[in-house]
């Protein structure tokens, strides 16, 4: 049952919050992004690294993964970077 639940979550919606930076001059941002496929920190890191690098950002770390329930509390902090990449 628990296994089924987790797979449905993974299929339904999976989000990760992360921190990224740009050099020269140093710019930082905290953002939330939607993940495809596997819902884990590891897959989030590999996915986000590519996505952010395409936009000129360097991924620093992934704080965690969560579902829709966690979206609302992070929306304000993420600001412009809420579901942007």
């Amino acid at each position: 049952m628990a296994l089924m639940l987790s797979t449905t979550i993974a299929q339904a919606a999976c989000y990760a919050d992360y921190k990224a930076k740009q050099d020269d001059p140093l710019r930082l941002h905290y953002g939330v992004a939607e993940l495809r496929g596997d819902c884990s920190v590891g897959s989030a890191e590999s996915q986000l690294r590519d996505r952010l690098a395409g936009n000129g950002w360097q991924l620093l770390n992934v704080l965690g993964v969560f579902d829709e329930a966690g979206l609302e509390e992070r929306k304000e902090s993420a600001g412009d970077f809420f579901l942007r990449y």
Binding site: K19, D23, P25, L28, H29, Y30, L63
Partner: protein, 232 residues
């Protein structure tokens, strides 16, 4: 021609000067290198801020992130200031090198000059240059010109050549070289006579130049400072 000890002293002195200057340049070059190595990397502040951002999970709100960025920016500005300071310090180091090198050179020159002055004061006359001019029948000692007879010029030339080869001549050898005969066939007394004549003519003129001056149609006077004369 200076005496051999003076030449040696001068050589040792110049070696010390070169070593001293090299040491100064070396020390200041090392200082400059250390200066450039030890100054913090321009990116050090950014890295520290980035570390802070990563390590604290609750530093996520927009305002906090903006603050961190401002912190990094001011750090970068400060490191720019440091870079300009570093350049100023480097220029000052170069000035210091130049001044120290000049100081050492002047110091050694002063010591050498002092020693030479002392020697000149004791010796009375120091021969810095000796030029024999055969066609003018004259010998130039420093700035003094002395007229010599042909025979005296010949004797002086022989002695000068022997001195350049670091040789000592006996009276017979001198006579032999001048007359062109074998030294074994020559009389020691003949050479001695030549030396005596050279000494007399040169000595007389030197005395007249340096000590007893003859002023034309007026008379004779001692060519020395009157303060140095003491009667006991």
């Amino acid at each position: 021609m200076t005496s051999s000890s003076a030449t040696e002293a001068r050589e040792i002195g110049s070696r010390i000067v070169v070593a001293g200057i090299a040491a100064i340049v070396l020390i200041l070059a090392i200082a400059a290198v250390l200066l450039f190595i030890n100054l913090p990397d321009a990116n050090a502040f950014n890295m520290r801020v980035e570390q802070l951002f990563v390590e604290n999970d609750n530093l996520t709100s927009n305002a906090e992130i903006k603050l961190l960025e401002i912190l990094a920016g001011s750090g970068t500005a400060f490191s720019d200031t440091l870079a300009s300071y570093r350049f100023v310090i480097f220029v000052l180091l170069i000035f210091a090198t130049a001044l120290l090198v000049a100081a050492v050179a002047f110091l050694v020159m002063l010591i050498a000059l002092n020693r030479r002055m002392g020697r000149i004061e004791r010796q009375g006359i120091e021969v810095n240059s000796l030029t024999i001019s055969r066609d003018q029948k004259a010998v130039y000692l420093n700035d003094f010109e002395f007229k010599l007879t042909d025979a005296a010029i010949e004797t002086l030339s022989v002695l000068a050549e022997a001195r350049m080869d670091d040789e000592v001549l006996t009276g017979a050898e001198i006579e032999g070289v001048i007359s062109g005969r074998n030294a074994a066939d020559c009389d020691e007394a003949a050479g001695a006579t030549r030396i005596k004549r050279l000494r007399d003519t040169l000595g007389n003129q030197m005395m007249s130049e340096l000590l007893v001056k003859n002023i034309a149609r007026k008379g004779y006077v001692l060519a020395i400072d009157k303060d140095v004369i003491r009667m006991t």
